[in-house]
């Protein structure tokens, strides 16, 4: 057996597309240079402990997937739409209004001055050490999308970003989004990661949000790529005074799924609500790493994640709450519950609390369990079939989180996918 390579292959450091403004090309080059000796995560890498074995990058997957001639997903959405194909936005397949106070632009369409300003801010919401692969996205993005909301701007409908990867050949895609929400602005951004084709591909995505004072941002993220897609994604958020960030991450497993979500509460009175649902089956994997930084005082964070693992699948949750010394009167709540649907499934959960302020309220809880036999018996004793009873109880575990998804069409999509999951998971029941 060939030993696993210990450094990121140099094949991964060749970006495609030179159509970017000079400041962004320069940033990309700089990040690439910094990754030359990037060690690949192993079992001994603390934040990849349970997941490194699923990461199987080959040199064939290093090349950027072609974007020329692709039309983009025909998926109809109840709102505005931006279609990404293999990491690059496709204007012909996108539909959004031309507004004065909300600017939606490709990186490649920015002036040098705008690009230079953006280059300063890219990666600013993430911690390069903790989110190793975000840097790779910055070294590789072919293009990207920047959404700027001017003060008080309100987008009247959700904006859907359909991230499609076409896996007709092996390769990779590096979608990049930067959202700058101005003072008291509001937006709901839905991101759907989907795939077509069967070849082994790698998706490395980064989405960043900066929320100015009083901004209100909702982000729904659906991870629904195929069994041939290894996906490492990161979401970074910084929040100023009295801003609110709400996220709903729904993930279906794959050969490798990793999402790092980091929220920094930097302004007094900011609040975030992070919901997450993960379901895995077969030999799938999913790893959520979240970090909430309470930097400023009087901020609230509420985090609720649920994992359901069937068959021989593996789900991981790592939730870190860091309360900085100045963050008095912080209120942090984290709940992680996990459901194992088979004895062969595995779930690893780890809450990490670091509290350096004394006047804080911080509660956390994590549980791992199976479907309750007594409850199952109660349901079937009323004539409900055993399969349906299993579905009812499994759904009960995540009902509340699904119900909270604020866009009905997304809720429906999630329910359809969940039903497919149940069909598979309870096939032999």
């Amino acid at each position: 057996m060939k030993p696993a390579p210990s450094l990121l292959s140099s094949a991964f450091l060749q970006p495609a597309g030179q159509a970017l403004p000079a400041p962004l090309l320069a940033l990309r080059k700089q990040r690439g240079a910094a990754l030359v000796d990037m060690p690949m995560p192993t079992r001994k890498t603390e934040n990849w402990k349970y997941s490194s074995k699923y990461l199987k990058l080959t040199d064939e997957m290093a090349t950027s997937l072609p974007t020329a001639g692709k039309t983009g997903s025909a998926l109809a959405v109840p709102g505005y739409k931006v279609a990404f194909i293999n990491g690059v936005m496709v204007p012909e397949a996108s539909e959004y209004p031309d507004l004065n106070d909300i600017l939606i632009q490709r990186f490649s369409d920015l002036s040098d001055a705008e690009a230079s300003e953006l280059a300063e801010r890219l990666d600013s919401t993430l911690d390069a050490k903790a989110v190793q692969f975000a840097g790779l996205n910055t070294a590789r993005f072919e293009d990207g999308l920047v959404i700027r909301l001017k003060p008080d701007a309100v987008l009247d409908q959700p904006l859907f970003i359909i991230h499609e990867v076409t896996a007709d050949a092996s390769g990779s895609a590096f979608p990049r989004i930067f959202v700058e929400a101005g003072r008291n602005s509001q937006i709901t951004l839905v991101e759907e990661f989907i795939s077509s084709g069967q070849e082994a591909v790698f998706v490395n995505s980064v989405t960043e949000f900066t929320l100015a004072e009083g901004a209100n941002v909702t982000n729904i993220r659906l991870s629904m790529g195929g069994e041939n897609v290894q996906h490492i994604g990161a979401t970074g958020v910084t929040q100023q005074r009295s801003s609110r960030f709400e996220s709903h991450c729904v993930g279906f497993g794959g050969p490798l799924r990793r999402h790092d979500l980091r929220v920094r509460l930097e302004g007094k009175g900011a609040e975030c609500k992070l919901n997450g649902v993960v379901v895995t089956q077969g030999t799938q994997h999913y790893d959520n790493h979240t970090t909430i930084e309470h930097v400023a005082p009087n901020c609230d964070s509420e985090e609720t994640y649920r994992n359901i693992a069937a068959d021989k699948s593996h789900a991981v949750f790592n939730g870190r709450i860091h309360i900085h010394p100045d963050a008095q009167k912080s209120n942090a709540n984290m709940s992680n519950k996990n459901l194992l649907l088979s004895t062969g499934a595995e779930i690893d959960t780890k809450p990490e609390l670091e509290i350096y302020a004394d006047d804080v309220k911080c509660a956390h809880g994590a549980t791992i369990g199976q479907l309750d036999k007594e409850s199952l018996f109660y349901l079937v004793s009323r004539g409900i079939g055993i399969r349906e009873a299993n579905v009812l109880l499994t759904m009960a575990f995540i009902n509340e989180l699904v119900a909270q998804i604020p866009v009905d069409a997304v809720k429906d999509t999630v329910q359809i996918r969940l039903n497919q999951f149940f069909d598979q998971a309870f096939q032999e029941v």
């Binding site: 309750d372 036999k373 409850s375 079937v380 009323r382 004539g383 409900i384 079939g385 009812l392």
Partner: protein, 262 residues
């Protein structure tokens, strides 16, 4: 209708039922009494099909068919209903969703069309009134946060919705105050019908003041040690289980007096 022959059952390798024989005809109401731990709930659970209990020998037939080889849900669809001594709480599944799924599973089994939401709500409202439960409870999780008495009334409500052939009521009277006891026994009496049998498990005789049984059986250490008419219950109340040479922590009579303390 129901014929139990020499039924033995154990849990975790320990034999609990040690040869039960019982014949129940349609239209009859049977009461099973006995001290705590004598195996009353075990019998009820075995009849409903809880596989935590292993039937080691004996047979149970209902309408001539082998009941024991059927899955729990099949027994339910054939008309077996168990009102649990300790109904489980299921947060995340609403009572409404639960009962509608149940009613429709039964209808489906009978080849009838599903009840739509409006029809179901109408029925559910009516019956919830009958057992004195606020219809608002339908929206809550199954038994979630219910008081002991509400749970028992919810069990009777389900029996009334499902109209079973054989209703097994496991201590549906315990934990009820006098008013709730009245509501529950009115519900049970409403269930009495020519084509239906009722098997009531009770620790106390007081329920039998409201629901008059045709037969009373005394269960002790996994066996029926005495059977008789309703006068047997009265005699037990007066003389206690010790009269039959049965050990009990509390006598039937004294516990009957402490009913509202539950």
């Amino acid at each position: 209708m129901l014929s139990i022959k020499n039924l033995h059952a154990s849990v975790e390798g320990k034999e609990i039922l040690k040869g039960i024989n019982l014949e129940i005809k349609a239209g009859e109401v049977h009461a099973i009494m006995g001290p705590n731990g004598s195996g009353k709930s075990t019998l009820a659970q075995v009849l409903a099909g809880n596989d935590a209990f292993e039937v080691t020998s004996g047979s149970v037939t209902m309408h001539g068919e082998d009941l024991l080889e059927k899955a729990t849900e099949e027994r339910a669809r054939d008309g077996v209903f168990l009102a649990f001594q300790y109904p489980v709480e299921i947060p995340g599944v609403s009572n409404l969703q639960f009962m509608r799924t149940s009613v429709n599973a039964m209808r489906h089994h009978r080849g009838e069309s599903e009840m739509n939401a409006a029809e179901f709500m109408k029925l559910a409202r009516e019956i919830s009134k009958q057992v004195d439960l606020d219809p608002a409870f339908l929206k809550r999780g199954v038994n979630e946060g219910f008081s002991g008495g509400e749970k028992k009334r919810n069990e009777i409500m389900q029996a009334l919705m499902l109209q079973p052939k054989l209703a097994i009521l496991d201590e549906t009277d315990s934990g009820l105050d006098i008013d709730a006891l009245k509501v529950v026994s009115d519900g049970v009496n409403a269930l009495r019908a020519e084509d239906r049998a009722i098997l009531m498990v009770t620790h106390y005789q007081r329920l039998l003041d409201h629901i008059v049984p045709d037969f009373v059986h005394v269960l002790a250490e996994g066996k029926i040690v005495k059977s008789g008419g309703r006068e047997l219950a009265l005699e037990l109340e007066e003389r206690g289980y010790a009269w039959l040479g049965i050990k009990d922590d509390e006598t039937a009579a004294s516990s009957a007096l402490s009913n509202s303390a539950n």
